[in-house]
């Protein structure tokens, strides 16, 4: 008996954080810094900062396939290999699809990295604040349910996380993307400035700005500055690209309050019906398949949108037969992603004696201008932003399509290439009940966990927006004098934006939402969800910065509530 009590005590913490990605890292840092003995559970392998970035400094000729995709990649990483960040230098950071199956009632491209840091290692680091245009949107047009918070609730927390993360950008003064706490911006190229001026002169209400990103243009503590290699996805040995293991996890570790346990797949969250509280988690050891329970007063679920919801769905009890906290029945529903299908490519004649030096970890950004500040569209609600870049590559990259070979051809191939522009529209996705994920308890994976099934598709509003964004991109490029303009539809399925959001949304009403204004499960108040699952809408901005701010805010609330003994 005493042995059992001791064993249980050994496995008891103040807090448990499920996941070590971008939001889990923040949960760990905040909870540890507030003095809580915290267990961080990561389903994937150990991946130490710098020492485990074994491709970070590899030259192109030392990469196995010189960055060409292999037939094995296409077979074993059938979904992951479609991600823009997947290549010879990053393959090991993506899950092998053949080992991690899921079901697709409708196609869903689920991009995953199972290791310490999760996708915070491979993300594109674009960071924009949301505004009240976004937090009020659901209430105003009736799609989805009202956010229980407004910009004012989050603004101080944006500042708080930004000062730690380090965001490079300009104070552009745009109401739809309020200014962050900025480090110096990464400036635009000559032709981008030309496009910026053309848009300003011809399209009131539209603004092209330097892409704001979580790359340090100035040193913060012992991190950075950016060396402009733009090989961020391999892991940054200069700690200049924000990742959990370069920033939040070391801060958490420094408190000596954190226990980080890798290879720990969370099976479910334990619920005590008498206490009406979650008491801990059940964990499968990824190597031995052994099950262990860990206990804590509060639990932060940061497994990444899909896995967070899968864990909640798998956490069944008499009180919650349909998943923890799922009184409303909305758990798993209202799955969203940004629609990146609209693309443009073009070239620019001129500025032939202009070039640039270094490789930027960002590009430019045109924040939302539709259905905003006087613009009103008939065919769709909300809007899209447009991201892109215009740079010169090397001539050889387009050389195969040019006539010629031999000495003169070789010489011409060593020159800077033409100015090439790429654009992608980033469309807001409306919350829709029928866009959902479920778990299949009959079809289990290698660890005995239910597999996830996706049933999600782009709908009328996204498609109407796609059409409009294609037209506006064409128009703006023509006006600015770009040549060889090619507008395309990538046709990609939801998921590919890697901004999967929703499925355990925040809201004011427990009948239609899972979480309250502090990311607390309405009906299990010591469980917090602060990753993409909590989102009640997608806005048009990249979401990670908002996850970080929501997490820091929720952690602050949780610890105060704990001290007041209200949870």
């Amino acid at each position: 008996m005493n042995i059992n009590i001791d064993a249980r005590k050994k496995r008891t913490y103040d807090a448990i954080v499920i996941g070590s990605g971008i939001s889990g890292g923040w949960s760990a840092k905040e909870l540890c810094e507030k003095g809580l003995k915290t267990l961080v559970l990561e389903r994937g392998n150990k991946l130490d900062h710098i020492s485990d970035y074994h491709t970070a400094l590899k030259d192109p000729w030392d990469l196995e396939n010189r960055n060409m995709q292999t037939e094995d990649d296409r077979n074993q990483y059938a979904i992951q290999s479609r991600c823009y960040a997947f290549n010879d230098g990053t393959r090991h950071l993506f899950v092998r699809d053949t080992d991690n199956p899921y079901e697709q009632t409708k196609p869903f491209e689920w991009i995953r990295g199972y290791h310490v840091g999760g996708k915070s290692l491979m993300w594109a680091r674009q960071t924009y604040r949301w505004s009240d245009f976004d937090f009020e949107a659901n209430a105003q047009d009736g799609h989805g349910t009202d956010w229980p918070i407004r910009y004012a609730d989050l603004a101080p927390w944006y500042s708080y996380v930004e000062r730690f993360v380090g965001i490079s950008g300009n104070p552009d003064g745009l109401p739809q993307i309020p200014d962050s706490e900025f480090l110096p911006a990464i400036e635009l190229t000559a032709v981008e400035k030309h496009l910026q001026k053309s848009i300003k002169d011809n399209y009131p209400g539209r603004t092209l700005i330097s892409g704001r990103c979580a790359n340090l243009t100035a040193r913060i503590n012992d991190r950075g500055p950016c060396q402009f290699r733009s090989l961020c996805h391999r892991g940054c040995p200069f700690s200049a690209a924000f990742a959990s293991q370069s920033a939040t996890l070391p801060a958490a570790a420094a408190t000596k309050k954190m226990t980080l346990r890798t290879d720990s797949i969370v099976h479910s969250i334990l619920y005590d019906e008498k206490k009406q509280r979650a008491t801990g988690v059940r964990v499968i050891d990824a190597n031995t398949r052994e099950m262990t329970e860990y206990y804590a007063k509060i639990i932060f679920v940061n497994a990444g949108t899909v896995n967070t919801t899968a864990i909640l769905l798998n956490s069944e009890s008499t009180r919650f037969p349909n998943g923890l906290g799922n009184d409303s029945g909305v758990l798993g529903h209202y799955l969203m992603d940004h629609c990146y299908r609209g693309r443009a490519w073009a070239t620019f004649d001129g500025y032939e004696n202009h070039y640039h030096k270094g490789r930027r970890p960002t590009g430019f950004y045109i924040p939302r201008f539709r259905n905003l500040l006087g613009d009103k569209q008939q065919n769709f609600v909300r809007g899209y932003s447009i991201g892109g870049s215009c740079e010169r590559g090397a001539a050889w990259q387009q050389g195969a399509w040019q006539e010629g070979f031999g000495a003169d051809f070789k010489k011409s191939m060593t020159r800077p290439g033409q100015w090439e522009l790429g654009l992608h529209a980033q469309g807001e996705c409306l919350p829709h009940f029928d866009n959902k994920l479920t778990i299949n308890k009959i079809k289990l994976d290698a660890w005995g966990m239910p597999t996830v099934n996706f049933d999600c598709q782009w709908r009328e509003n996204e498609l109407a927006m796609l059409k409009d964004s294609s037209n506006t991109m064409q128009e703006m490029l023509e006006t600015a004098g770009f040549k060889n303009i090619q507008i395309s539809d990538s046709q990609e399925s939801p998921g590919k934006g890697i901004h999967e959001m929703g499925t355990a949304r925040m809201g004011r009403d427990p009948k239609t939402s899972m979480l309250n204004a502090h990311n607390q499960l309405h009906s299990a108040p010591n469980v917090f969800v602060t990753d993409g699952a909590c989102m009640a809408s997608t806005a048009t901005q990249n979401p990670s910065l908002t996850y970080m701010a929501l997490t820091a805010r929720a952690a602050d609330f949780a610890v105060k509530a704990l001290n007041k003994r209200t949870i």
Binding site: E71, G358, A400, E420
Partner: protein, 186 residues
């Protein structure tokens, strides 16, 4: 991000190599069918074709950069399985055509003969009904030669301006007509 995507596109396009060049087909139409070359012969032919496309000038050429070896690897591991055989068939067909026309292997031809033969390959047009977005053999070969050469240490560091750790970003700088490109890293 966009350039990365365009690189991915190249890989995808390469995945679709399919060729049946008319002229080659004519050249090899005759009593003897295309002769299959040994892996050693193919490597040798590829090296010489690559060297003709990217010759040694003031910087070393494709042969020194072991482009043939790269192409063998790329065809074996990177092309889809069904395209792999087509690539080797087309290379063998080219060699057979060369022997028929020049009376000797491509590897034994003089520089002038090599240039003349590759010009013929370059002039191949898609046959009626072929998908024009699928590159002809010579285009596919050239793509592999360029990729192999400029990602090899010799090409990346001697033929281009290699700057693995730039240390900063200069968004706009003026260049001369003979300025070399920065080596793309991705």
């Amino acid at each position: 991000m966009n350039r990365r995507e365009s690189l991915q596109r190249i890989a995808l396009v390469l995945g679709g190599v399919a060729i049946a060049p008319d002229l080659l087909a004519q050249a090899i139409a005759g009593p003897s069918a295309t002769r299959q070359n040994t892996p050693e012969d193919r490597l040798h032919i590829l090296d010489e074709m690559a060297e003709t496309i990217i010759p040694t000038t003031d910087t070393p050429g494709a042969k020194a950069a072991k482009v043939g070896e790269f192409i063998v690897h790329a065809v074996e591991y990177c092309l889809p399985n069904d395209r792999k055989k087509r690539f080797w068939d087309d290379l063998d067909a080219a060699e057979t055509a060369c022997k028929r026309q020049m009376g000797k292997s491509f590897t034994s031809c003089s520089d002038n003969e090599r240039t003349r033969f590759l010009q013929q390959l370059q002039a191949q047009k898609h046959a009626k009904g072929d998908d024009p977005s699928v590159p002809m053999f010579f285009t596919a070969l050239k793509m592999l030669v360029l990729h192999g050469y400029f990602t090899a240490e010799i090409g990346a560091t001697l033929a281009l301006n290699y700057d693995p750790i730039p240390g900063g970003w200069i968004p706009d700088m003026l260049i001369e007509p003979d300025t070399k490109a920065w080596t793309p890293l991705f």
